[in-house]
């Protein structure tokens, strides 16, 4: 599973340069859901169960239309800058998961109809792990992963 994602990422990183300038937001349909905070998703202990609670499914389809920008080596796991760009048309949400965190789901961004497929934030990572970006579009989940090495963990004391 993880190896598959890595391979997808490698493919994706080649294509990403060309597509990142393209814009998919114009094709979005209006929708506005202000969901209550999904406690179960944020407390879930694995990527699959977090996605089940958040999106109702965990079947991920690798996509080269998502690119993650994160450091290869993060010296300080408490502050790992992560940017996700997607050119998938109709992207409804972008979620960022750190696979080996105690609770993998770190953040989920619900995008409005005119919002572009781009978010940037900083996350905490407990240890070296794969950072997974999951994009929801048209009822399906697309994902890409990137391995980030952490030298000092950012969770716990």
């Amino acid at each position: 599973m993880i190896n598959m994602k890595r391979r997808t990422f490698l493919k994706g990183s080649v294509a990403a340069g060309a597509v990142s300038a393209a814009v998919g937001a114009g094709l979005l349909t209006p929708r506005m859901v202000l969901a209550a905070w999904p406690t179960a998703a944020f407390e879930a202990g694995s990527v699959d169960s977090a996605l089940d609670a958040l999106a109702g499914a965990h079947q991920l389809e690798g996509s080269d239309k998502i690119s993650i920008r994160a450091p290869d080596i993060a010296e300080n796991g408490a502050v790992v800058p992560v940017s996700v760009t997607t050119t998938i048309a109709g992207a409804e949400s972008i979620s960022i998961l750190a696979e080996k965190n105690a609770a993998p789901l770190t953040a989920s961004f619900n995008l409005g109809p005119n919002t572009e497929g781009y978010v940037s934030t900083r996350i905490k990572m407990g240890k070296t792990s794969s950072v997974i970006a999951v994009v929801k579009a048209g009822g399906k989940l697309y994902s890409t992963g990137k391995e980030v090495k952490v030298t000092i963990g950012g969770c716990g004391g």
């Binding site: 619900n110 409005g112 572009e116 934030t121 905490k124």
Partner: protein, 103 residues
């Protein structure tokens, strides 16, 4: 509580929002070094950004977002002078919001 620093810049019809929020983002897993007790969790759960009253982005955050969080995203359809409002709510029910004009 001016806890939010926000900038909204429009260029070629795309507005880029960059925001910094001052917040401890305590996970609830850290221990106080002196007392050895767990520091209770205190983190932002929801960040909403509105453009002229319409939500353009709603972020759901867990405790694994870094302390003093940074957030950036882009949206279309705003003109210079439009109002962008950013607000957050944390797990203790505290909240803050700020408004800025697109430049």
């Amino acid at each position: 509580m001016a806890s939010i620093k926000i900038r909204a810049k429009a260029s070629d019809g795309v507005t880029t929002i960059k925001a910094l929020i001052k917040h401890p983002m305590e996970t609830g897993q850290r221990k106080d070094k002196k007392s050895g007790k767990l520091i209770p969790a205190h983190y932002i759960q929801e960040v909403t950004c509105e453009h002229n009253g319409t939500a353009v982005m709603t972020a759901l955050w867990g405790p694994a977002v870094s302390k003093n969080p940074y957030l950036s995203f882009k949206f279309k359809g705003a003109n210079a002078g439009d109002t962008v409002k950013l607000s957050w709510v944390d797990n203790k029910g505290e909240s803050d919001s700020t408004e800025t004009k697109v430049s």
